[in-house]
């Protein structure tokens, strides 16, 4: 199957680019997962904000009256540096851990976005972009697990 055949399968692709793309070039490829990616981006940010608000309120109820220490850098304790540590805290209903879980949800949003794009390119058998997306995903995952 050629690239052009794949692109024409999508109704919106057949309608728009054919009018403007010069005859010597194939029509610009449609983004197969655009709708799902937009949904994940918006939904992920909303989920992170909601989880963060819950944790933030819990945290402030228990610790709102204390004095902060941000003038001196000490680094976060190890349980706030990994998903496993934060999940342990979340189940024990610690406000701070829930907030950090929200931060991790937010950091995961672009990773999921890239993974969705990879899925789309796999379905389209778009080999150059499968390679491109795998490289980006590998860099992101490396940053998350290796530090």
């Amino acid at each position: 199957m050629s690239a052009g055949d794949r692109d024409r399968r999508s109704p919106s692709a057949a309608a728009t680019p054919a009018m403007v793309a010069p005859a010597d070039l194939p029509p610009p490829p449609r983004e197969p997962m655009a709708g799902a990616i937009a949904l994940v981006l918006r939904g992920g940010v909303m989920l992170a904000a909601a989880v963060g608000l819950i944790g933030g309120v819990l945290f402030l109820i228990r610790h709102g009256h204390e004095v902060p220490h941000y003038r001196v850098f000490r680094g976060e304790p190890s349980e706030y540096r990994s998903l496993v540590g934060v999940l342990g805290g979340t189940f024990a209903e610690q406000g701070r851990a829930i907030v950090q879980l929200a931060v991790m949800i937010l950091i995961a949003v672009p990773v999921v976005r890239v993974a969705l794009a990879l899925f789309g390119y796999l379905r389209e058998r778009d080999w150059p972009f499968i390679a491109v997306t795998l490289v980006v995903l590998a860099i992101l995952v490396h940053g998350l697990v290796a530090g």
């Binding site: 933030g56 004095v67 001196v72 907030v99 931060v103 937010l106």
Partner: protein, 303 residues
């Protein structure tokens, strides 16, 4: 000052930071680091961690709309994210080599450079200001006439091989465009990513520079695709910052919520109040913040 008072002040300050970032077109990150370090006396490493989180939030929140409207070029964005994310990892690693004062000085210099980039005059004098985009790049460049668009067939070989040329919507219907000098674009993107990882900003102005000036992509596609890429770029370094313990939940949450709300309001206000005078005032504030960061960093004022 208790944690409750600090959280509320951070929320309010970050709201104005997000507003200013959206209206100036430079994004929330450039305002958060000076706000936290100069305004609240927070260590710059915590400030960068919080700024990165807010950058991911605003980019992801705004990008959904750009995808729906068909402006962002997702293929070009994904391909160039190879450069920005490698750059971001390198920048985040470099950040641990330098003294906080050096990071602060670099931040100040980068902020001043971003403001200078956004002040570049429009290609045609008297062209209408670009009053379109959301969080990033609204003040960058100027009236970009359809005549300036590169024909898809004139794209360089790399762009054609990867099928990067695309179309974008205009009032006259979709317009096809090509990309030139993609290797140069990749190089600038790598540097933008390194700056992003080093000082915790989205570096949107540098990404727009790569799209608009190097690859000759239409401005609206440049600003939206660069915004789309910022989330992935910031995530590449945020994971490293998180594991180093630079991301504090008590700071990151009010900053993230405040910047997000400010950016949302700013994006709504942008088409209504696109006066150049207002933008100029914001740029003066940013120059003052950048100059102060540079000064504090050079004189060792940031612990």
């Amino acid at each position: 000052m208790t944690i409750l008072v600090l959280s509320l002040l951070l929320l309010a300050g970050s709201f104005f930071g997000g507003l200013l970032g959206a209206l100036s077109g430079l994004g929330g990150g450039v305002v958060i680091v000076p706000l936290l370090t100069l305004g609240f006396g927070v260590d710059i490493r915590y400030a960068i961690g919080a700024a990165l989180v807010s950058v991911i939030a605003t980019s992801s929140g705004a990008a959904a709309a750009y995808i729906r409207d068909g402006f962002a070029n997702l293929r070009a964005g994904m391909f160039l994210e190879i450069a920005t994310s490698i750059g971001a990892v390198v920048g985040a690693i470099m950040a641990s080599w330098f003294d906080p004062n050096v990071i602060g000085a670099i931040f100040g210099a980068v902020l001043l450079a971003q403001v200078a980039l956004s002040l570049k005059p429009a290609k045609k004098p008297g062209a209408p200001p670009v009053a379109d985009s959301g969080a990033v790049g609204a003040a960058v460049g100027g009236g970009d006439a359809a005549a300036a668009v590169v024909a898809p067939a004139a794209s360089d070989r790399l762009a054609l091989a990867l099928r990067l040329p695309s179309t974008y919507p205009t009032p006259q219907g979709p317009v096809a465009y090509g990309l030139v000098r993609v290797p140069l674009g990749l190089a600038i993107m790598g540097m933008a990513g390194a700056l992003s990882g080093l000082v915790g900003i989205g570096a949107g102005a540098f990404k727009v520079l790569a799209f608009d000036k190097a690859m000759r992509v239409p401005l609206k596609v440049s600003t939206t695709t660069s915004n789309f890429m910022i989330g992935v770029t910031a995530t590449a370094s945020a994971g490293i910052y998180l594991q180093r313990g630079y991301i504090d939940p008590g700071l990151a949450l009010p900053v993230m919520l405040g910047v997000l709300a400010g950016a949302l309001v700013g994006a709504r206000l942008l088409p209504v109040m696109s006066t150049r005078a207002l933008r100029l005032i914001f740029l003066v504030v940013l120059v003052a913040a950048g100059g102060q960061m540079l000064f504090e960093g050079l004189t060792g004022g940031l612990k």
